[in-house]
Amino acid sequence: MTSLAADGPRGRVRRRPLFRAPSIIPGFGLTFGLSLTWLCLIVLIPLSAVFIKTAGMGWQHFADVALSERAIAAYRLSFGASLGAAFINAVFGLLIAWMLVRYDFPGKRVVNALVDLPFALPTAVAGIAFTTLYTANGWIGRVLEPLGIQVAFTWVGVVITLIFIGLPFVVRSVEPVLADVSRDVEEAAASLGATRAQTFRRVILPAIFPALMTGFAMAFARGVGEYGSVIFIAGNMPYRTEIAPLLIITQLEQYDYQGATGIATVMLIASFSLLLVINLLQAWSRKRTVD
């Protein structure tokens, strides 16, 4: 055994880098160092400030500020409205993705491009636009008002804007996977006697379901933290139409840093849990789409 080892090209072997696998490409130290430093300075250290400050509060105080009645009401609105909007987006987002993938129609490119509008339009602009549409004398509010439906300054308005914010997440998650469902598979189902509805329910939907769930979770996660587009249309009434991010701002304006931090901690924990869920869903989706 020892003789075997001695046969190796001892002394001439390049030292294997301690940390990474060897490569002839240069620049690892520079790029990795730069990325990590920047990541720590901009993201990790500031984010940890929230948790450290919360940890210093003590449980009782944390519960007082982060789980106060008013805070709970705000979470309920933020999470509830996001959930509702994400559900609606799952249905209509799938429908729009279907339209974009399966049909040809005039103006398709415009529709396709504008699906990303919520990613590109500043949230404050979306906020004042939706508010103007749904107030009593707005284009849409004018129609709904006589029917006794009030959207602006109620939770309904919050849901409406969150639908806008979340729509592209569902469409863009579902689109590539739907396009990837091969025509063969649908034809196979039909040749085995399946109706169009059965093919959709038993073959297409299961194939795109992980992607649909991913889009749903992303839309939901985005909705929970959304601020700019919602504050204009929400009534911002404590306990009733006040979203959680607005409550943080209110606390800050009153110099109640501990209150703001406590609520922020709850929101961060929720976001990170959702991020984990989204990553798991994406892994599931990838596993499904690999042949």
Binding site: T31, F32, F92, I96, D116, P122, V125, E226
Partner: protein, 279 residues
């Protein structure tokens, strides 16, 4: 095109199209139209007055300044991170990717708050900063920091899948021909990733110019000094100065439209398909 065996009946198709386009009109088209309709409600004169008003101009300048700092910062970071992640194998890579994506899942308001906790009067570095007369929070540096935070992942997450897909062959070939690291980057890597980079920069810039929540937390809300365009829109709107609010908003909406047009062009012309879903 699809044939009889795998397409919906004419009726089902018509219903799907009608619902889809109706939803599209209600949630995407109408909000966009109302911005321009409201902006021009007082005529073109009032519209232009609102835009050339000094506070509006100051807000435009500040918005451009913030974007001019944060976008290049993210380009440098994005390229460096994508290079380290895609050209080398090292443990903990997926954790690093997750951390880079983290800002997308943080509420904009919380994104602003974290800098208040660090640099604010009551924050960790507050006393030290006050001593040296450096103001970050409620001033431009804080707004830049918050903007960098919310746009942090845009360039990196666009480049990482792209560069991973392209592998290391080109770089290794260039290096084997005697190119230096920088030459390899300029001549072998950059030409392959330029459309992806442009795509990421587009989305990054749109978000940088349009960010509201995070910037709102760290801004002093002082007209003409610490107001970006979105913040200026809010102030005007809350003062019931709707025409002016929508006039400034229409500029932001135009920016969004230009972004979408360029993005679509990249997708059609260069067949570049965005990998990430920007927020």
């Amino acid at each position: 095109m699809r044939n009889g065996a795998t397409s919906e009946s004419r009726l089902a198709r018509a219903v799907i199209m009608a619902i889809g386009l109706g939803f599209f009109g209600l949630f995407l088209l109408m909000p966009l139209l109302v911005v321009f309709a409201q902006a021009l409600a007082g005529g073109i004169g009032a519209y232009l007055d609102a835009i050339v008003e000094p506070d509006a101009l100051a807000a435009i300048r500040l918005t451009l300044l913030v974007a001019a700092i944060s976008v290049p910062a993210n380009i440098v970071f994005g390229i460096a991170a994508a290079w380290a992640i895609t050209k080398f194998d090292f443990p903990g890579k997926s954790i690093l990717i997750t951390f880079i994506d983290l800002p997308f899942s943080v509420s904009p308001v919380v994104s602003g708050l974290i800098y208040v906790l660090l640099f604010g009067a009551q924050g960790w570095l507050g006393p030290w900063l006050a001593e040296h007369d450096i103001q970050i929070i409620f001033a431009v540096p804080g707004m830049v920091l918050a903007t960098i935070f919310v746009t942090f992942p845009f360039v990196a997450r666009e480049l990482i899948p792209l560069m991973a897909e392209q592998g290391r062959d080109d770089e290794e070939a260039a290096l084997s021909l005697g190119a230096t690291g920088w030459q390899t980057f300029w001549h072998a890597t950059l030409p392959n990733i330029r459309w992806g980079l442009l795509y990421g920069v587009l989305l990054c810039n749109a978000r940088a110019m349009g960010e509201f929540g995070a910037v709102s937390v760290v801004s002093g809300h002082i007209r003409g000094e610490t107001n970006t365009m979105p913040l200026h829109v809010e102030i005007l709107y809350n003062e019931y100065n709707f025409i002016a609010a929508f006039a400034v908003a229409s500029l932001l909406a135009l920016l969004a439209l230009v972004t979408l047009v360029l993005k679509s062009l990249l997708e059609w012309r260069y067949d570049y398909h965005g990998k990430g879903t920007g927020h």
